[in-house]
Symmetry: C2
Subunit: 410 residues, 2 copies
């Protein structure tokens, strides 16, 4: 690694030189590897994450996720979810709400139990087992959303269930985080946890339910009066950040607010705003994906036992969501169950936050912490091809379940 | 100011909370004040800079131009110049090259002499006089480009002369910077200065001359083979950062590279890429404008004498470019001369770099340094309404000079 240090130093020094170089390195390498993966018939998104792994500490060590890159990454995933929200109708999402709640809850319970059991069998202390279980629960919808959106699968019913379940999952993730951090401090503040959950749920339900009609009423009237150029676009951006911010105050992730903002304003703005938003999103999303890859550090697998535990945890992470979310989706047909199960696999921020908390509280060992980070990123690398497979092939089979789906919809 | 400190602290603390809040504050307040200024019949761009003055140390003190905001601002002005480049043909720019060279050279000499003379008359040491003169020389094209682009004036001949002159001005600015930093160190390295100038000029001439045909040859062939989504857009972004980077290595500003990149690729990409780029630009440009405003600190004007000197320097900055660039443009007609003179008024980075150098070398007093920063920003606030006036009114008069323009064009 030291051989690359001069280049890394040269990158970070020299002030002015840095910006276009960093931008070119991140954006260019992401698109280069995306192209390579598309040539292999794989989703380009995997290439963009791998670009981060290559640029990061695991291989070249040229970049670290500093404030600037992390902020661009956070913006990238917010814009991504906003764009996905633009394409989704809130009424359709609310209609699948019941099924999505079931999918989300089982998708939290099964991974938790499996993660806990694995570390129990490995002989770890019980608090560490709980933390590993907790870190495996929360789905991160960014990766799935990007695959569904870029491959044109967003209008499928399974996609809507995944999106609704992922939003609910985020509220559940908040709950899990509240419970484990209480456990770590030795006492559970029930009232706090209940209040937090109520606040977060209320935010999601209110915006999902009334957002669209409010915007349909407001946006045309306001945009018509504004003299500033691209007024609808400016309104959309302001709503994106305002709901992202409110979401954080309500306790859920900013990306949930961004998704709700997109959904609320989607029917009120013209196609030009969609294209303009698409431009900003296309610029920023590679930073989100590359930063995921930058966070992985393969040097954690220095011993065979870590490698074994890593493999077991990753396998458990994959099959637990598949089983947890898939089994309860079986009434929609096996194909739809597979789509939903696979779509819920990618993990993200919440898992890393739990692991980070566990590490600072000295509950998780450095080894298990590294494995959690590896598991989080590895699920995002493994799932895009699986999602593409599940959604793309044998589309005709899925339609045979439609009578069943129709009667389940009400 | 201290009354606002808790809010400022709350903004900068809490890690995760910061991003959507900062984005909303900057973008939202910029658009709000832009709307207000448009209502008053003034260019919105002035409102966006004033938003920065309000958020910055002069009024509320809520934001400082940190690494993240500064980087977004740098990206904003790069995207802005790239978008302007997209709308300009290199052949048209090269055709006005001779006139532009004259405009640029006189636009450097007159402000330098006037700035130097003012401080001489004020009784300052001669090196300080040279530094003030030098800090008044370089035009920054970002503001003018934004006004010309947003008001649809880019296709006018005067706009092309301004853009070409601004690019040449940047090379001259580099020269001025090299000379004054040599002076500050006590000896002039002639060979170094000549080499730097040759390198910078060669970069600009080569890219302006061969860029368009190279891209017209390359882009369709490459984009056709790529499987990655929005391939043309990805190529455009990569070219933007690559030429921005090369420009910096060649010694000119990244925005000159960005402008040349836009010009090179403008004829090779479809209208969709223009709209996508427009989306990214619309998101980022407010950060460039707000950051300009954030840099001003009105508290420098604590004494009447500073206020007087500030007013004199600002007036000199305005009329020196107007005279320097306007007089040599008189053959194009008085109206065109006025447009060109006004369009070259805004100052930017180079002036601040010279002033910063003067301050660290203890050549400039804190007072004069503050005045230079004020002058730089104030020229960007004053010129948009002037540019709008000069370009908008009595368009019929301008066309009467067309026969003269036509014979001057070859």
């Amino acid at each position: 690694m030291t051989a690359h240090l001069p280049f890394a130093l040269w990158l970070s020094s020299g002030g002015g030189l840095k910006l276009p170089l960093v931008m070119l390195l991140v954006f260019g390498s992401a698109k280069l590897l995306a192209e390579f993966f598309e040539m292999l018939g794989q989703p380009g998104i995997v290439g963009e994450i791998i670009a981060g792994v290559v640029l990061g500490p695991s291989v070249l060590g040229w970049l670290t996720p500093d404030t600037f890159l992390t902020s661009l990454a956070d913006l990238g995933v917010m814009f991504l979810l906003f764009r996905v929200g633009l394409e989704v109708k809130s009424s359709e999402l609310i209609r699948v709400g019941g099924a999505a709640l079931l999918v989300a809850v089982c998708g939290v319970i099964v991974p938790f139990v499996l993660g806990w059991a694995i570390l129990q069998a490995w002989g770890a202390p019980s608090l560490e087992c709980i933390f590993l279980g907790a870190s495996m629960t929360a789905t991160s919808v960014g990766i799935t959303a990007q695959v569904l959106s870029s491959k044109g699968f967003l209008q499928q019913k399974a996609s809507r269930i995944i999106l609704a379940a992922a939003v609910i999952d985020d509220v559940l993730g908040l709950l899990v985080l509240a419970v484990v951090s209480s456990l770590a401090k030795g006492r559970i503040k029930t009232l706090d946890i209940v209040l937090t959950t109520v606040l977060a749920s209320a935010f999601v339900i209110i915006v999902a339910h009334w957002g669209t009609r409010t915007m349909r009423h407001l946006v045309p009237r306001v945009a018509e009066r504004l003299r500033v150029s691209e007024a609808e676009f400016a309104l959309a951006i302001c709503l994106l950040f305002a709901l992202g911010l409110l979401a954080m105050y309500a306790g859920v992730a900013a990306i949930v607010g961004a998704f709700l903002a997109g959904m609320a304003i989607g029917e009120s703005v013209g196609p030009r705003v969609h294209t303009l938003m698409h431009g900003a999103t296309e610029l920023l999303v590679p930073f989100f994906l590359v930063c995921l890859g930058l966070r992985i550090n393969l040097s954690v697998f220095s011993t065979p036992s870590t490698l074994l535990l890593g493999a077991i945890v990753l396998t458990a992470a994959l099959i637990s969501k598949l089983i947890g979310c898939g089994l309860v989706s079986l009434p929609f047909g096996r194909r739809e169950a597979l789509k939903i199960g696979v779509g819920m696999i990618p993990r993200g921020e919440v898992g890393m936050v739990v692991a980070q908390l566990g590490l600072t509280m000295e509950i998780l060992s450095q080894q298990v912490y590294g494995i959690v980070v590896f598991m989080t990123i590895a699920t995002t690398i493994v799932s895009p091809p699986l999602i593409k497979l599940a959604f793309q092939e044998r589309v005709s089979t899925a339609s045979s379940c439609e009578p069943l789906q129709a009667c389940l919809e009400d």
